[in-house]
């Protein structure tokens, strides 16, 4: 059978680099100082956050401006559950956070995806997200404006033995494993048959409709997966930062994954992860430049967005494609 070439720009390079980055994260506590380990844990959560967001943004082309609402829903729901039922296994409080995120994204998806317009979706997710921000800030059980503080890191009970995640860097290692598993699951959705249909819907929804596909239902499903995974990221973060405030539901927090996607490149699965790591590196590298940090970070972002359409990965792919063509000449 004459088989057409697959359009894979990086070939074997992608799993290689992904493996190296994973190894760097996994070994970090052995060679880096404590502050950096904490930052790396936050970055891991943000990578999951941004990859989940990009399932909607990169594949279906719809921008959710209220994604932070799902992140906060997962964080608050799991922290509240862990506090209300201290004996509950950790996995169940995390699952509760994800379930609340799933219910919320299902309901918001029903409303915001009624019309196929991108601006309608963006405004409605923004409005509903801000509504959730306000509700959290006014709910006494969730600590109102002060948020929840002193969230305990859990003890994993395996029956024969117990692992106290409060000691040492154990919770960090849990974050590495969880981020790797969730990213793997999202990778599979992106590249599988659902991902292919979603990408087709972004390019030509009417054609997909006339191939017998319920376009709205598929968008709703994508939003449901995206929201649930985002809530999972939030649920994982609460015991790490040990304090959560309503700011994680604020619209400005929804801007973070958008920024990571533009920085790394939304057209590729790993783009947002690259964006999150580069952004954290920029912030960390400029943390001592008093008053100048925002200027340097902002300038660097502006440069990438203006000079590198398609983000860092998009530009790398173009360059490597050019090299390959010249090599073949």
């Amino acid at each position: 059978m004459p088989h057409p070439p697959q359009s894979r720009s990086f070939g074997v390079l992608t799993p290689l680099v992904a493996g190296l980055v994973l190894a760097a994260f996994a070994t970090l506590p052995f060679w880096a100082e404590k502050g950096l380990v904490f930052l790396a844990g936050i970055v891991l959560v943000q990578i999951v956050f941004a990859l989940s967001f990009n399932l909607m943004f990169g594949l279906t082309g719809l921008v959710s401006f209220g994604q932070a609402a799902f992140f906060a829903a997962g964080a608050y729901a799991s922290a509240w559950m862990a506090r209300s039922a201290p004996g509950l296994p950790f996995i169940l409080s995390i699952a509760f956070g994800a379930a609340v995120g799933a219910a919320l994204s299902f309901l918001i998806g029903l409303v915001a995806l009624r019309r196929a317009s991108g601006i309608y979706f963006a405004i409605l997710t923004l409005a509903l997200g801000q509504l959730i921000y306000t509700v959290i800030g006014k709910t006494t059980a969730l600590g109102r404006e002060d948020g929840l503080i002193g969230i305990a890191r859990p003890v994993l009970d395996f029956g024969l033995f117990r692992v106290d995640l409060a000691t040492g860097d154990r919770y960090y290692f849990l974050l590495v494993v969880a981020a790797a598993i969730i990213s793997g699951a999202l990778w599979w959705v992106w590249h599988g048959s659902l991902g292919r249909i979603l990408a087709a819907i972004r390019q030509e929804p009417e054609r997909v409709r006339f191939l017998g596909v319920d376009v709205r239902r598929h968008r709703e499903n994508a939003f449901l997966i995206s929201g649930t995974m985002t809530a999972l990221a939030g649920a994982l973060m609460a015991p790490w930062s040990q304090i959560i405030t309503p700011m994680i539901a604020h619209w400005s927090y929804s801007a973070l994954p958008i920024l990571f996607c533009l920085l790394g490149g939304s057209a590729r699965f790993w783009g947002p992860a690259v964006g999150a790591i580069v952004f954290a590196g920029l912030e960390h590298g400029t943390r001592n430049m008093t008053g100048m940090a925002e200027l340097v970070v902002g300038g660097a972002l502006l440069l990438v967005v203006l000079a590198m359409p398609g983000g860092i990965l998009g530009t790398l792919a173009r360059l490597s494609g050019r090299l390959a063509r010249e090599g073949a000449r």
Binding site: H191, G192, I197, Q203, R207, R209, F210, L211, G212
Partner: protein, 255 residues
């Protein structure tokens, strides 16, 4: 047997009524061409019949079933296919992947598992079928190219191929030869006639080119300002006095 029976179709935009009480019947295995001046409502009629938009009044029966309130994708499940005036393809994807996607959609409609659900790549049988279908349309040499890079005529052929991949009973073609060179037009006429005669398909078309119209129509309907003014055997319709006046009449109109 009538495949489509539509009555009283009315569709209006806020400022203009596009379809006024339109009735149209499409018999099985006919090649039914709808003509009319620009703005007569041909494309709107297509949209209403295919389920892209819903009429404000009227009913549509397809194959004995009332489909008036069914969305386009549900009508596709019942065997209606549709192409657009300007071909709609997945431009960033390869020509090959366009066809594979259509075949996967067909498998979903049929309820047969297109490979295991956790698989990342499409089933091998579908990949082979895609290459065979491309070869029969002379598009196999372009299989690895992005669909956006195809010529205008090839895009229209690929879109027809995607539509046929779903094994429709009725296909609706909106200006299938628009923007094509004369020899490409003749090829399309031959292809459409072959689909009807050999594969038993039913066709509903709009078309501007009169050579194409009379090359493939078995029934001709003339739409003018949202109303049907004549419908029947192509030669009889051509001789109809009103059609002569408003369509073929003085100044030539827009053929």
């Amino acid at each position: 047997m009538s495949l489509i029976q539509a009555h009283g179709l009315t569709f209006a935009y806020p400022s203009v009524r596009v379809l006024k009480d339109v009735a149209i019947t499409v018999e099985a295995n006919e090649s039914h061409v709808v003509i009319g001046p620009n703005g007569a409502g041909k494309t709107t009629l297509f949209k209403v019949l295919s389920g892209e938009i819903f009429p404000q009044a009227g009913s549509i029966r397809y194959d004995g079933e009332d489909v008036t309130r069914l969305d386009a994708w549900q009508r596709v499940h019942r065997g209606i296919g549709r192409t657009f005036q300007v071909a709609r393809l997945f431009g960033e994807q390869t020509v090959f992947n366009n066809v594979v996607l259509a075949l996967e959609c067909r498998e979903r409609i049929n309820g047969s598992s297109a490979g295991r659900w956790w698989r990342l790549t499409p089933a091998r049988a579908l990949q082979e079928e895609a290459m065979e279908r491309l070869a029969s349309y002379g598009l196999d040499r372009r299989a690895g190219d992005a669909a956006a890079t195809l010529s205008h005529g090839d895009k229209k052929r690929l879109e027809l191929l995607l539509t046929l991949a779903l094994h429709p009973k009725l296909i609706m073609l909106d200006e299938p030869t628009a923007g094509m060179a004369p020899e490409d037009r003749r090829a399309v006429v031959a292809l459409i006639n072959r689909l009807r005669e050999e594969e038993g398909l039913t066709l509903l078309l709009t078309e501007h080119d009169m050579e194409v119209v009379f090359g493939l129509a078995t029934r001709l309907t003339v739409l003018n300002y949202g109303e049907i003014i004549a419908s029947g055997d192509p030669e009889e319709v051509r001789r109809d006095a009103r059609v002569q006046e408003i369509y073929f009449g003085k100044g030539g109109g827009h053929a």
